[in-house]
């Protein structure tokens, strides 16, 4: 019996082989009929099912409009907004699903599903068409005088003009994009000598005595909130973190002995990586973490980078205490704050 299997198999395999190569057996001739193809009852049932799905769509539309016209909105009741959103959305979804599933059901059960064959034609144009096209271009070129090798001046000057003409539009357009183009503003902030450090966002000044060890203040310059224009631009550069730590833990950096006051130290809050606010302070380790890309700065050691994609320490804002006991800046930062850019040291 098993030998029979083997010989039958090799006989079968000889079919579909020509000149020692397998050949394409062609499109399978048998077509498996669907129930609706054989049974008129099944066809009728499929028809009713598809129609019912279209009916559901109408119901969905009614639900959506009903939800719209009865739904309450207004910020005082977020629950009502949520209900309206839900009901309208479900209504729209049913309206769409009904049409979609109905149409697909119709196609899958009732439409003729015999595979058909279409020949492809090579996309390449025929040789005659190509020759004709080339001839036309040649004729045209000849008519213009370019094809016969003359008119070099005409060609050259036209191409030059075409290349240069866009500048007449582009230069003013691009030139206007940047307004006053004062890129030097990247290098300075609004901090000045004697300017008080105030709390973000309300702008109340901070007394040194109020800053307890381990506390952190999010700081903006005094007067920022009074700016009529450019408030956000100035804020984006001037935000500072004010931290007090045990003076014994704080390693004051050489040359910055008088930039801090009794363990109170201020750093730019703008990350030197790509500029996110470095807002997370870990009191125990005195690390500052940028939540965007996890650059980690050591506050006790000049805010040097100890992990992550930033390279430079956070710039330090020199501070002192004025005669009334408020913390004030001694000067602007001594380097550009925020992300690195090509000319930041120039």
């Amino acid at each position: 019996m098993s030998t029979d299997d083997g010989s039958a198999a090799s006989a079968a395999h000889e079919e579909g082989v020509v000149d020692g190569e397998f050949v394409d057996p062609g499109i399978p001739s048998e077509h498996r009929p669907r129930r609706a193809d054989k049974d008129p009852k099944a066809a009728r049932k499929a028809e009713i099912q598809a129609a019912a799905m279209f009916g559901i769509s109408v119901v969905g539309t009614v639900i959506a409009i009903w939800a719209y016209s009865t739904g309450k909105v207004g910020g005082n009741d977020p629950g009502a907004v949520q209900r309206t959103t839900m009901l309208m959305g479900v209504g729209i979804a049913l309206a769409m699903f009904g049409i979609g599933t109905g149409a697909i059901h119709w196609a899958k059960t009732l439409m003729r599903d015999h595979d058909m064959v279409e020949e492809r034609h090579q996309l390449r144009s025929s040789d005659e068409a190509r020759a004709g096209a080339i001839q036309m271009l040649k004729d045209g070129a000849k008519d213009s005088g370019v094809g016969v090798g003359r008119r070099g001046l005409l060609k050259g000057s036209l191409i030059t003009a075409l290349l240069i003409a866009p500048l007449s539009v582009l230069v003013p357009a691009v030139g206007n994009l940047g307004g006053d183009w004062k890129v030097s503003q990247f290098k300075h902030t609004m901090w000045r000598k004697g300017m008080r450090l105030t709390k973000d966002p309300d702008g109340t000044p901070i007394k040194a005595a109020d800053v307890t060890i381990g506390s952190v203040f999010h700081v903006i310059p005094d007067g920022l909130n009074d700016l009529k224009t450019g408030k956000l631009e100035e804020k984006a550069k001037a935000i500072v973190l004010l931290i007090r730590m045990d003076p014994r833990v704080l390693n004051v950096q050489p040359g910055r002995e008088d930039w801090s006051f009794d363990g109170i130290i201020a750093y730019s809050k703008v990350c030197t990586h790509v500029g996110c606010p470095v807002a997370l302070y870990e009191q125990q380790t005195h690390h500052l973490l940028c939540p965007c890309h996890q650059s980690t700065f050591d506050v006790a050691n000049g805010a040097k980078v100890i992990f992550g994609p930033a390279k430079r320490p956070l710039p330090q804002l020199p501070i002192m205490v004025d005669s009334e006991g408020y913390i004030v800046a001694k000067d602007d930062f001594n380097e550009p704050i925020g992300p690195s850019f090509w000319g930041r040291l120039k």
Binding site: V73, L123, K235, A236, H273, H293, P309, W342
Partner: protein
């Protein structure tokens, strides 16, 4: 009742009296006919309809991925038009006095205020916002999966290289559309995203600070960016997408759809079902299904609740926030890069720690994808039109490269969510990042090798099937006492799928010099192509030939014959 005569020759014989007595369906038919005639006499739409209506499309689930992209784009257009009726693209600052108590007195831009207004005071406004956002995520996701389908089945090969580039540009445009739209509400999350983009732009050598200043119209954040992005988001980018979609589909119709291998499916035909009525119903119906699914997502799943984040302010930021999924890999690149790559040359700062992951790397990544059809063409040297798709296993190196690219991408996406991963699995975020720094190089290489091996293993399995047939589960006992399982030969149709792939071999490189001993031009380029070709095709599993099948059967028959006459049953030696 009188029906106005169309004046055409064909209706001349029909009297008015006859027309009034026929049922209304026939009047409808005539009206349709008249309209068709009117349009055709002015546009030759008849010839176009003849060309289009019965165009054949092969059926396969993976061909629907591009459809999802198209349909979610239509949903984006529809919902987007509704949103523009309420959105105010302005960065002017106002103090909120609307209905939402938690934001009372907060300073915000008009853009943010109008977003809150349309969410809470316009019935269905929040639904439209959520539908729009979900549709955007599905749009980008379906484009990427569609692109992966094209890649793995080799549908980018001649004549579809141009359409691959069109699709590639559409993918880039979808990212641009997504990012500009994401940033419009001017909330604190998207604002920090823009701050990051500004930091990336600043890292560009020489002109970075000018690009930044030009883009924002001043220093960051300025007051022109949102109006500018609005124009890009609702006019420029969708306009480009629409034009490219038209070109994309035109080329699909022009070149006819690819088809999976099978009996009767060749590079010279297309086997399938006609556009009208089957695909009109199936694809048209599928549009409504996609719309319905997006509507359901918008109804039931909150997305981008900007009122919880608050309006943009340069100072606050929250931990564990993520950009939309399609930007995660760039964010992951920014996170994974150690800072030490920032250098100062002659007083100028070159911020390679930002430039490499956010500019160079995406440039190489996307450049490789865009050029891939040509890279593979250099290796195959093939010039013919390819309309029958590859089974991914039959292109092991391509499949391996694709999986390696996806792996690389996924590592960066995971690194882009490293804070969340660390939180969920209670890991150190630093250790995680260090691990990803290694994995981003190691995993893609491993993925390539493993995938290539799996693909070749599957090819060998296919060979087994062709040579020895399918296991039937039928056990037969010989007179000698030995048991074997009967294998049934597979059908001719099944066999054709398994043997009909191209047996591509490394290209031969011609002699370095011609007969006069003069070196041929372009020798280095040819050596590169030969090396590339070896990389692709040196390891290969060749398709079964009829001779091999015949040999296998002869071998089987001999074996069976031998066993029949074998020695009496011996438990130790006949164990299979």
């Amino acid at each position: 009742m009188t029906t106005p005569s169309s004046g055409s020759v064909s209706t001349g014989s029909v009297s008015t009296g006859t027309v009034s007595s026929v049922p209304s369906t026939s009047r409808l038919t005539r009206a349709a006919g008249d309209t068709a005639n009117f349009v055709d006499e002015r546009t030759s739409i008849g010839a176009f309809t003849k060309f289009m209506a019965r165009k054949l499309f092969p059926d396969h689930w993976s061909f629907m991925l591009g459809e999802i992209a198209l349909y979610s784009f239509i949903v984006l257009l529809l919902s987007g038009v509704i949103l523009t009726a309420f959105f105010v693209p302005s960065m002017d600052q106002v103090t909120y006095d609307g209905g939402l108590a938690q934001l009372h007195g907060a300073e915000m831009s008009k853009a943010f205020e109008s977003t809150i207004h349309m969410s809470f005071d316009v019935p269905g406004g929040l639904l439209m916002r959520q539908i729009h956002h979900w549709a955007a995520l599905i749009f980008t996701a379906s484009i990427v999966t569609h692109m992966a389908r094209i890649f793995f089945t080799g549908a980018f090969r001649k004549p579809r290289e141009i359409n691959w580039l069109v699709g590639f540009t559409l993918m880039i445009m979808s990212l641009a559309a997504g990012f500009t739209g994401y940033s419009l509400p001017d909330d604190v999350l998207s604002g920090n995203g823009l701050r990051i983009i500004d930091g990336v732009i600043l890292s560009i050598p020489i002109i970075g600070q000018y690009i930044s200043y030009g883009l924002f119209g001043a220093q960051f954040p300025g007051d022109v960016l949102i109006p500018r992005m609005f124009t890009a988001h609702i006019l420029l980018i969708p306009g480009i997408i629409l034009a490219l979609v038209a070109l994309h589909l035109f080329l699909v119709f022009m070149q006819k759809h690819t088809q999976h291998p099978g009996g009767g499916r060749t590079d010279k035909n297309v086997v399938g079902l006609p556009l009208f009525p089957v695909y009109t119903a199936k694809a048209g119906g599928f549009f409504f299904v996609v719309f319905g699914a997006i509507a359901l997502l918008g109804a039931a799943f909150q997305i981008n609740p900007v009122w919880n984040y608050g309006p943009y302010d340069p100072s606050p930021v929250s931990a564990g926030t993520q950009p939309d999924w399609y930007m995660l890999f760039i964010d992951g690149g920014l996170r994974i890069m150690p800072g030490l790559f920032e250098v100062v040359i002659g007083g100028y700062t070159l911020s390679l720690n930002v430039l490499i992951p956010a500019v160079v790397l995406p440039g190489l990544f996307f450049g490789f994808l865009a050029l891939y059809p040509w890279i593979e063409k250099w290796a195959t040297g093939d010039r013919g039109e390819k309309h029958v798709l590859d089974r991914p296993r039959n292109a092991p190196v391509r499949t391996g490269l694709g999986v390696a690219i996806i792996t690389f991408y996924v590592v960066l996406v995971l690194e882009g969510s490293n804070d969340i991963v660390a939180n969920v699995f209670h890991l150190s975020i630093n250790d995680l990042t260090i691990m990803f720094r290694i994995l981003v190089f190691a995993l893609p290489v491993a993925a390539f090798m493993i995938t290539k091996r799996i693909a070749m293993g599957l090819q060998r399995k296919d060979r087994e099937l062709v040579l020895h047939g399918e296991e039937t589960g039928r056990i037969v006992r010989f007179e000698s006492g030995e048991y074997i399982e009967v294998h049934e030969p597979i059908s001719e149709q099944e066999r054709w799928v398994l043997v009909s792939y191209a047996n591509l071999k490394p290209q031969e490189i011609g002699p370095e010099a011609n007969e006069h001993g003069v070196r041929r031009k372009g020798a280095r380029w040819r050596r590169f192509k030969a090396a590339l070709s070896r990389f692709y095709f040196e390891d290969r599993v060749e398709p079964v030939t009829p001779a091999e099948v015949a040999e296998a059967h002869a071998h089987h028959a001999a074996e069976i014959e031998a066993k029949k006459n074998a020695e009496p049953y011996d438990a130790a030696s006949s164990h299979v």
